[in-house]
């Protein structure tokens, strides 16, 4: 029997879910090997009977936390899909402000107290609420990596997510180092798997896939110094997707 798959989203742009549809013709092949039973963005039918749940987005409210726990109870395997789900991603930027401050900035003086829709806490990654079995990093995720993860799970294999830096993929592409253009890049410590897509487009890596395990921060600092770049600028870059996970701080 084909494994039953469900897709859910929380605080996110839904761009990672869109990558499923962006698999284009491959979607047809994928639904030959899995049964999609819940995917609100794409289908009306839904079911609580599923084996694998893919989660897009991070958790910001008690009502979302409750829904996530219900999903975890139904799923045998739970996959955090995209950087918001894996480590709060861009939402992490909110951690520099208090909840009251962000609410006041956006909703002004509107009365939103005791209203569950607006009852936000600091953003939590999925694994801060429930157990996560697998992680697909990236903002957005790489759709081919997603297809590989799905295929691996169907075959009962552990998905192979790289634990080497973006520089490795960038070198394979024979790109000129973006530091030589006078830009900075956190490719030396960021987890690969994206095919070094930003440096390939002459844009420094912004660290959207998070850090490799045991990043070599010493050499990153050395590289910055070699190119006469400021640490503050680099810190800003680390913060964009990995707030409070900065390797230099």
């Amino acid at each position: 029997m084909k494994p039953k798959v469900a897709v859910f989203d929380f605080a996110s742009c839904e761009g990672c879910e869109l990558q499923i549809m962006n698999l284009e013709e491959k979607v047809i092949d994928l639904i030959d090997i899995v049964d999609v039973v819940s995917f609100r963005e794409a289908m009306k039918e839904n079911s609580n009977d599923y084996d694998i749940a893919f989660i897009d987005g991070c958790i910001v409210r008690p009502l979302d936390e409750k829904r996530l726990k219900e999903i975890r109870n139904c799923a045998n395997i739970l996959v955090a899909m995209g950087s918001c789900a894996c480590f709060t991603g861009i939402n992490g930027l909110r951690k520099q402000f208090t909840d009251e401050d962000v609410k006041r900035t956006v909703y002004g003086n509107a009365i939103i107290e005791n209203n569950p829709y607006f009852d936000v806490f600091q953003p939590k990654a999925i694994d801060e609420v429930v157990k996560v079995d697998h992680y697909i990093y990236g903002c957005p995720i790489d759709r081919n990596e997603l297809a590989e993860v799905i295929t691996s799970l169907v075959m009962g294999k552990k998905p192979d997510i790289p634990n080497y830096p973006v520089c490795v993929e960038c070198k394979q592409k024979e790109n000129i180092c973006v530091f030589d253009y006078g830009n900075f890049c956190i490719g030396p410590v960021t987890r690969a798997g994206c095919g070094a897509i930003c440096p390939t487009n002459n844009c420094g890596c912004e660290g959207c896939r998070g850090l490799v395990n045991d990043p070599d921060t010493e050499s990153e600092l050395e590289v910055l110094q070699r190119y006469g770049l400021s640490l503050d600028d680099a810190l800003d870059r680390f913060e964009m997707f990995c707030y409070q996970k900065g390797v230099v701080k």
Binding site: C13, G15, E24, E41, V60, V102, T105, V106, V120, C203
Partner: protein
């Protein structure tokens, strides 16, 4: 006849983001009807503050995974206006091409994947792979073409990489554009087949009309998408600087996305609004689609937004070819971008697939954003969805509960709402 109908539809399907429909009726009278938006807020206006001008558009892009190019462009225009950065004609042409790519991608996604299942009486595109395989593969081909186009111009299909303040980090090679032009030329036959399939089933769209105000960019030069003034069917033309007095955002307790209003209780933005405001400037291929579907301006049927989107797909395919030819005739140049950081306030407006989008920033002398405001198309449609529901639901009460629910869901879907984007 005593009959009570209760609808409590949590999370309308086949739309972007989370929205609920709650309706109660008794003895043929609506007692309450509410469009609710429980989407998790992300507070982007706050997230943007303190960020360097070079990063702002990459953060703003994450407001929406479906219209990330439009957000990037509105963001770049706001930053450029704030700092007085002038961009080249080549940059404008490439940006217009990027916006066309996103418009085609988003509209095909909506009409093909999200709305079409209603026309075929199924719950998703998946069963159609077996029953209508050719139609599905044609839809996928168009979707893939639009994504390839985004990738060529922006470096990636979702969350553009190459777009930056003042220009591009990398421009496409001429061969890439020539090959894209060939694919675009070949796409009209595929589009015609998709369009025929939709037309054959178009009678499934309800025949419901409610006149409202339509707002969108307008221009006397072209069908306004990248640039223009604010146009209203009620009040005419306005400067972009007047956007706050047009949108008038306010908070309602049942929605984390703000509502807006202008001359009436609500107004509509998006493909149908643009069609109503600008239809005379649509390119020939788009006009042919409008004619085939009997779409004429002004059209007050929100369900025809689906058709207006198809009209725009044909328009964007044709206009993309025109833009590519202009780029090739001029010759592509690797332009060096020089940005002088200076303090100021800037407003950027573009037409995102779902309607007019505003970004408004204050940038300080160090190039950091100190204040941001974003008004999203679907923000501007929420009140209109509510008002349409109030007018539409009473006409449905003779139907079964499930049919009422299905019709209300179709109404929401017709707007192609981008809800997480509207809450941002």
């Amino acid at each position: 006849m005593s009959r009570e109908v209760k609808i409590n539809l949590e999370h309308v399907s086949r739309i972007e983001g989370h929205g609920n429909i709650v309706m109660n009726s008794k003895n043929g009278k609506i007692q309450s009807i509410k469009w609710q938006v429980p989407e998790a807020p992300r507070f982007f206006e706050k997230l943007l503050t303190g960020r360097d001008y070079q990063d702002i558009s990459h953060i703003a892009s994450r407001i929406c995974g479906i219209c990330s190019i439009a957000h990037s462009l509105a963001s770049l225009k706001a930053s450029e206006n704030a700092m007085g950065v002038v961009i080249s004609d080549q940059t404008i042409l490439l940006r217009k091409l990027a916006l066309h790519a996103e418009n085609i991608q988003s509209h095909i996604l909506h009409v093909g994947y999200l709305a079409a299942p209603d026309l075929f009486g199924v719950g998703s595109i998946f069963p159609l792979i077996k029953t209508n395989r050719n139609a599905v593969t044609d839809i996928i081909k168009l979707h893939r073409l639009a994504n390839e186009m985004s990738e060529l111009i922006c470096g990636r299909t979702t969350h553009p990489i190459t777009l930056k303040v003042g220009g591009f980090t990398k421009i496409p090679a001429e061969e890439g554009l020539i090959s894209l032009e060939e694919k675009l030329n070949n796409s009209f036959d595929i589009f015609r087949d998709v369009s025929k399939t939709i037309l054959a089933n178009i009678d499934k769209l309800p025949n419901f009309e409610r006149e409202t105000e339509y707002i969108g960019l307008v221009s006397d030069k072209e069908y306004a998408l990248y640039d223009g003034m604010i146009g209203s069917t009620d009040t005419g033309m306005h400067d972009i600087d007047e956007y706050l007095s047009i949108t008038n955002e306010f908070v309602v307790p049942h929605s984390t996305a703000k509502y807006t209003e202008h001359m009436r209780e609500s107004y509509m933005v998006g493909a149908l609004a643009r069609f109503n405001l600008n239809n005379s400037r649509i390119k020939q291929k788009g006009k042919e689609v409008a004619e085939n579907f009997g779409l004429e301006s002004p059209c007050f049927n929100p369900f025809m937004n689906n058709v207006a989107q198809l009209v725009e797909v044909a328009h964007c395919l044709e206009d993309s070819i025109y833009i590519i030819n202009r780029l090739i005739d001029r010759g592509l140049h690797d332009e060096r971008v020089q940005v002088e950081v200076s303090a100021g306030r800037g407003i950027g407006a573009v037409e995102a697939p779902r309607g007019i989008l505003f970004h408004d920033y204050v940038i300080d002398e160090d190039g950091k954003c100190i204040k941001a405001n974003c008004i999203i198309p679907t923000n501007q449609n929420h009140a209109n969805i509510q008002k349409d529901m109030e007018a539409f639901a009473p006409t449905l009460l003779h139907k079964s509960r499930d049919e009422i629910e299905h019709n209300l869901e179709m109404l929401v879907r017709a707007y192609d709402p981008c809800i997480s984007c509207s809450t941002h």
